[in-house]
């Protein structure tokens, strides 16, 4: 897939500097000095073994109350976001596709999205006809049946349906930065293909959107091609490179990287 439009080379869409975070009200540190920069319209993948802190990174970026940032800085379009509430980050243009999307019984997807769009209006009411058109258009783009929007959000959904629902929300809310937390987890190969196709369609349509893909496996990257791949071990990025890094990981596994991280950590021990 070819889509390279750099809007403003000087200001990265997302810049993470020396980020430290722990589980709220505990001593359990998870992010330990993480640095990462995502440019406009770029697709970055963060890969790492279980327990490396990948999902924590996704949640911390969106402002999950279960984590505390103890040090470091995160800017979105040049502005600090760590003091913002999750809804303020969303209104600024950030989006998190959840690894485990939450059930909202009794609330249809259409109603849910209408409320989310209404929240983006400074004043006045959302035009319901325009909304209906937008929703139908987005569902058509993603090749989804319109009846899907009438179902209660994630309630009784299969793993694949939950992930498709996340992509639909992304398509309707049109974020500038989409953080996708293990979107591939729990999907069989068919579901993975459908979900990835949805993401690619969206990327083609909105080339200016940046994506941070968080994944354990290389297989997602067969479908969504990243510009940069970062390897995360023990709360830090230990290596960054092009798509070839992912392939290398696939062959070698994470074991060597973990060793490397340990060596790195030892080197940091003050003399």
């Amino acid at each position: 897939m070819k889509r390279r439009i750099i809007l403003d080379k000087d200001i990265p869409i997302l810049k993470i500097t020396n980020l430290h975070a722990r589980v709220a009200d505990s001593d359990v540190a998870i992010l330990k000095g993480l640095d990462l920069e995502v440019g406009n319209g770029e697709i970055h993948a963060v890969m790492g073994p279980n327990g490396s802190g990948k999902s924590t990174l996704a949640k911390v970026l969106m402002g999950h109350p279960g984590y505390e940032v103890t040090e470091g800085r995160v800017t979105f379009k040049g502005d600090d976001v760590l003091d913002l509430e999750p809804d303020e980050r969303a209104l600024a243009g950030m989006f998190l596709a959840f690894q485990y999307p939450v059930d909202i019984p009794g609330v249809s997807i259409a109603n849910f999205l209408r409320t989310a769009l209404q929240a983006r209006l400074e004043d006045g009411d959302l035009d319901l006809f325009e909304f209906q058109d937008l929703l139908l258009d987005r569902m058509k783009l993603l090749d989804m049946d319109p009846s899907f929007a009438e179902r209660p959000v994630n309630d009784g959904f299969s793993g694949g349906e939950k992930k498709r629902n996340e992509i639909l929300q992304m398509a309707v809310l049109r974020p500038t930065l989409a953080i996708m937390d293990e979107t591939d987890s729990g999907l069989d190969i068919d579901a993975l293909r459908i979900v990835s196709q949805g993401v690619n369609t969206l990327l083609e349509e909105t080339p200016e959107m940046s994506v941070l893909l968080i994944t354990h496996y290389q297989r997602l990257l067969n479908y969504i091609e990243p510009d940069r791949v970062h390897v995360m071990v023990d709360g830090r990025i230990v290596r960054s490179g092009g798509p070839e890094v992912a392939l290398q990981l696939e062959e070698e596994g994470y074991a060597d990287w973990a060793d490397w991280a340990d060596a790195d950590k030892d080197a940091e021990v003050p003399a």
Binding site: P65, E85, D87, A90, V102, I104, P105, F112, A116, A119
Partner: protein
């Protein structure tokens, strides 16, 4: 964010019906209860002797019965009952047209949207102000079909035999302390008769308004639905907020003849200085269906358990109950189903929401008498807690005498979770908007049963209530 500042800047006291009219009633009894008060009420209504005797006997029962201690906290109620006005007559006679009503009272009902709703969606409207029905009107097409929709007083006057045949047969004075009190001092309420086979296409509505301070309102409603008839009756109630307590205790008796179908919807939105203790019961004959849709949003304390006595074969009773308990409120609500015939079926679905220091209790009875073979009953109660300080309890009573009966009970308690809130906030909704959406989803199975106008009103109310829920 500008949006949040707007929300935070709003007053949290959002009760929309807190307006009062300065008016001079044509008559009212002295505060407190006595035999003189009962006699005065009876004499003002120009009642037959038997009714006065009935009232005095009920007063005696009321005085002998102890205050119930099994439910909500009523320890301050005794003092309230000594201070309230038991009978306030706002005007001399009832109007058949809104133009017959004194302007201040008419304006109150206009602000509540009653005349407008009457034109648009209702078959008939009754409006009670303080102790009396001030307005009662039924559209001509239903009048022509023999439907009676009148004040309870006019029911007694104009249809004495029908009235006496059914009055107090469903809820006798000795049923409970407050049924006895209502029987002694009742005033206002509706008399409804739906003739055989008549199907009312739009609802009848009665609206109850308390205006003055320290008021006691005791409406009494008697509804008879003849064979194969169908109707829907809606009751709404509001009052201004006062620092002193007011008291509302109604008795609703419904007789549903074979094959008939009736729905009674209550949207109780009293101000939070109101004690609301109501007895509602339906006698359901064979193949007939009774549906209670009970929404309790307001009041300080509510104790109300709409009941279905299923006395004919294959009678069906359904109770949908929704309660909202905000700061300082206790909603002790639920439902009762009594199976006294074979193949009777019933279901109770109860949903409660507790916010702040609010407390909601589900209290329900399912009783199956011996001989009610193949009776089936299902009870489901779900509670949603908004804050750490909110409270909910469940008191299901199940008494089964019949071996061949099938009774199910399910209860769940959920708390608005951090993960749910985070998910919604990550989509751009403020915490208040997220709460309101979760609550709306929770009550959706019941809200969808409401007439559209009420569903919209309920949603609006929840949005307002959730604005103060953060923290």
């Amino acid at each position: 964010m500008p949006k949040n500042e707007v929300i935070e800047g709003l007053e949290l006291d959002q009760y929309k019906y807190d307006f009062r009219s300065e008016d001079k009633p044509v008559f009212r009894t002295e505060p407190g209860l006595s035999e003189e008060v009962v006699r005065a009420i009876s004499s003002h209504k120009d009642e037959p002797e038997w009714m006065l005797e009935f009232r005095l006997k009920a007063l005696d029962i009321y005085r002998r019965r102890p205050m119930p201690t099994w439910g909500a906290d009523l320890s301050d109620l005794e003092a309230v009952l000594d201070q309230i006005y038991y009978y306030v007559r706002p005007q001399d006679r009832m109007g058949k047209s809104w133009d017959d009503i004194p302007p201040n009272i008419k304006e109150t009902f206009e602000r509540l949207g009653i005349p407008e709703a009457e034109q648009k969606i209702l078959a008939g409207v009754g409006a009670q102000y303080e102790s009396e029905m001030v307005y009662h009107s039924l559209k001509k097409e239903w009048d022509d079909k023999g439907v009676i929709f009148d004040s309870i007083e006019d029911g007694l006057k104009n249809h004495p035999e029908l009235f006496r045949e059914h009055f107090s047969t469903v809820v006798p004075p000795n049923d409970n302390k407050f049924a006895a009190l209502n029987s002694a001092v009742w005033s206002g309420g509706s008399f409804v008769y739906i003739p055989k086979g008549v199907e009312l296409e739009t609802p009848l509505q009665a609206y109850f308004r308390v205006n003055q301070e320290r008021m006691g309102q005791f409406e009494r409603t008697l509804i008879i639905v003849e064979e194969g008839a169908r109707a829907h009756y809606i009751e709404g109630c509001t009052a201004p907020i006062y620092t002193t307590e007011s008291f509302h205790s109604g008795v609703i008796e419904i007789v549903i003849r074979p094959g008939a179908r009736f729905r009674y919807t209550t949207i109780q939105n009293w101000s939070n200085n109101m004690y609301n203790l109501v007895t509602q019961r339906a006698l359901v004959h064979e193949n007939a269906t009774m549906e209670w849709l009970d929404g309790n949003l307001g009041s300080k304390v509510t104790m109300k358990y709409p009941s279905c006595y299923l006395v004919g074969e294959r009678a069906h009773g359904s109770i949908l109950s929704i309660a909202y308990a905000g700061n300082g409120q206790h909603q002790d609500t639920g439902g009762k189903v009594v199976h006294a015939a074979p193949r009777t079926t019933s279901s109770i679905i109860s949903k409660s929401i507790s916010k702040g220091t609010g407390r909601s209790s589900y209290r329900g009875l399912c009783k199956v008498y011996e001989g009610s073979e193949n009776a089936r009953s299902n009870v489901e109660c779900d509670a949603l807690l908004i804050n750490e300080t909110s409270r909910t309890d469940t008191y299901p009573y199940i008494e089964i005498e019949e071996k061949k009966a099938n009774v199910g009970h399910e209860a769940t308690v959920s708390k608005v979770g951090d993960e749910q809130l985070f998910y919604l906030k990550s989509r751009g909704m403020s915490e208040e908007e997220a709460m309101a959406l979760i609550v709306r989803g929770f009550i959706e199975p019941i809200a969808k049963e409401l007439p559209l106008e009420y569903a919209v009103e309920l949603n609006r109310l929840i949005e307002l209530e959730m604005e103060g829920s953060v923290g």
